[in-house]
């Protein structure tokens, strides 16, 4: 598939260039980004540093205002993780409009949530989860047909994803998915655990669908959204194999069980002066795995509300963006979700985002997430220096701490610092 995409992209590139004129416009940009990260603490069987080099080439060609093609060729070179070393077309799509209909067909990034902050619909977004906290630039493209019909104050949108595309997960030497190191065998013999293979069990239907109906009147926008598809985060169970008594090694397989998930939401946004207020009520029909390995329903309601604003100052260089959000999912109180169950990390939280631009060259941002059920906290801070339009330097740090019954507290040894350079050719 990648080769076909490459040939199509190359063809489009030459055709559009040969037709360049007033009706055709095309742009391309390259980004090279070396990153070096370092955890404050070492842990067993995992690397303490993250030396990585990523590159991206984006190309866009547009014919008048009628259609455009867009392709993004990405590559990552990670010094430690072989699975992450790859080159791929993350996006390759054709977008067009005909009167009131707007369509996009091909490999594209789909963001399901319709909120400025976090929405339960965002659980269906697909990412490369090499690092659970750094997903902003890790959204993966999926094959999809996205159509919108705009009728004055109404907007109808549908999405069809014919094939299953799951988030990428890393099982070996990863600091976010920690596999067992040992197993207790008969007669209190301790066996060294050894991962043999990872098997994926897919549901009978792998297509995903989305439907959204939006209404906008003056300063109020209401959206009804539905998602029916595969949860990109699978449930996991281990299968022990025959132990090697001589070496005291116990091999095991991991089975990733993918299952279907349905989400319905009603989101509302209201402008109040310079403030944007938004809220969402959601119902999630998901599944979880019991200790014995059976899938059982995991249904719950969610509610969230938030506020954001852009502050503009007398000096055109200064800007402040603020966002605060409260999230609460009403789950069955009897269920103990695993601390690394990504679908439940934000079950009862407050999220704060702030970005302050000091001037055209310096910018600082901060994100803070506080879990209210098992008090634990994550805080990310970054300082951005723009040397010019080609070079930018970012220094950032993530701090995790609190109750170890929650994700942030459990992974408190994953606090770290990063230095990144972004170079645009």
């Amino acid at each position: 598939m990648q080769r076909i995409l490459f040939v199509i992209a190359l063809l489009c590139f030459f055709v559009s260039h040969s037709l360049e004129g007033q009706n055709w416009k095309h742009y391309h940009q390259n980004e090279i980004q070396p990153t070096y990260g370092m955890y404050f603490q070492s842990i067993e069987n995992a690397n303490r540093t993250i030396p990585e080099l990523s590159a991206k080439y984006e190309w866009e060609a547009r014919y008048k205002t009628k259609f455009k093609t867009f392709a993004s060729l990405n590559s990552v070179l990670n010094a430690h993780e072989k699975q992450r070393r790859r080159i791929w077309f993350n996006q390759a799509y054709l977008a067009f409009n005909k009167k009131k209909f707007y369509g996009k067909v091909g490999k594209q990034i789909i963001k399901w949530g319709r909120l400025t902050g976090w929405s339960n619909m965002d659980m269906a977004n697909v990412y490369d989860y090499y690092d659970f906290l750094r997903t902003d630039n890790e959204a993966l493209g999926v094959w999809a047909i996205d159509g919108k019909l705009s009728l004055k104050k109404w907007q109808v949108q549908f999405k069809v994803l014919p094939f299953q595309k799951s988030s990428r997960l890393y099982f070996e030497n990863n600091r976010w998915i920690r596999l067992p190191q040992n197993f207790q065998g008969p007669n209190d013999i301790v066996f060294r655990a050894k991962l043999n293979e990872v098997n994926r069990v897919k549901p009978s239907s792998s297509a995903s669908y989305g439907l959204s109906l939006g209404y906008e009147n003056d300063d109020i926008e209401i959206n009804f959204n539905g998602f029916s598809g595969v949860n990109d985060i699978p449930q996991r169970k281990s299968q022990l194999l025959a132990p090697n008594l001589a070496t005291k090694v116990l091999p095991y397989n991991i089975e990733l069980v993918y299952h279907r998930m349905n989400i319905a939401t009603m989101a509302m946004t209201k402008l109040l002066g310079d403030y944007s207020l938004w809220s969402e009520v959601s119902f999630v029909n998901n599944q979880r795995m019991e200790e014995m390995g059976d899938l059982v329903p995991d249904n719950y309601w969610g509610i969230t509300f938030g506020i954001d604003r852009l502050f503009i100052f007398e000096s055109p260089e200064k800007q402040l963006k603020l966002l605060v959000q409260y999230l609460k999912n009403f789950t069955d109180g009897q269920i103990d979700y695993s601390v690394n169950d990504l679908d439940h990390v934000l079950d009862h939280s407050i999220l704060l985002d702030a970005t302050y631009q000091f001037n055209y060259t310096w910018k600082a941002s901060m994100r803070s997430v506080l879990n209210l059920t098992n008090p634990s906290h994550m805080m990310s801070a970054s300082l951005n220096y723009k040397l010019n339009d080609k070079f930018r330097f970012v220094c950032s740090a993530d701090f995790l701490y609190g109750n170890d019954q929650h994700f942030f507290g459990y992974y408190n040894d994953n606090s770290r610092v990063f230095i990144t350079m972004k170079y645009h050719l």
């Binding site: 742009y27 067009f96 009167k99 019909l149 907007q155 007398e314």
Partner: protein, 262 residues
Amino acid sequence: MRIIICIVCLCSSALMYGQSSNNAFDIIKKYQEASSIEDLQSTIRYKNISKKGRVQERSLEQYIFQKDASKNTYNFLLKFVSPADISGTSSLTIQHSSKADDQWLYLPALRRAKKISASKKGDRFMGTEMTYEDLSNYLSEPMEDYNYQLEGEEVVEGNTCFKILATPLPHAKSKYKKRILWIDKATSQQVQAHFFNKKDILQKIFSAKDIRKINGTNIYRAHFIKIENLLTKNRTEVYYEDFVINKGLDKNIFSKSYIETL
């Protein structure tokens, strides 16, 4: 005898004033006709230069559609193409004469168009030294909102220009006490303007250069404009290219769905 002389003087000055007003009105009418558009697209590169010399440079495509000629209202679609940290961002403004404008911002990170609070007349347009009022006035001079008076002729950057004093009428709710416009006699284009704030202090100087015909038309346009704020010491420089004027722009592109898709 003295009374007769006084009456003659008064009548002649009133006549001269009336003629100057009429002349000014005709010049502005000609300027408005020469600069007004039904639709326009172009590529823009602009620089915001702070008083400390820091520079913010951006490139974008602009699409403008005259929504209602009688009410001087427009739809604006701006699509940023560089630098990389802002590329893909779009802004859509639908102006209304009787209520606040509608504005949406498409941010690639959100992957949706977000409605934002309507900009006020005096707000900076996309962080530049040009306000929404300046932009509307530049696109089409709002003749029904101003009183014009011809103040003579002056040469600006080698162009012989009419110098016109524009004073807002009470209903206009302008942020300025007055504007002085220099209209080129040859092309009927505005080559310079001085903006005086409510305290009658010269606040901004607008200058337009590189005025030439758009390919295949008889329409003149400035390809470089500069707006200098004398109070804040910040300035904005705008370079225009690839003008396409009155070629029948598809009005369906001025929609939230369009900026989310293309």
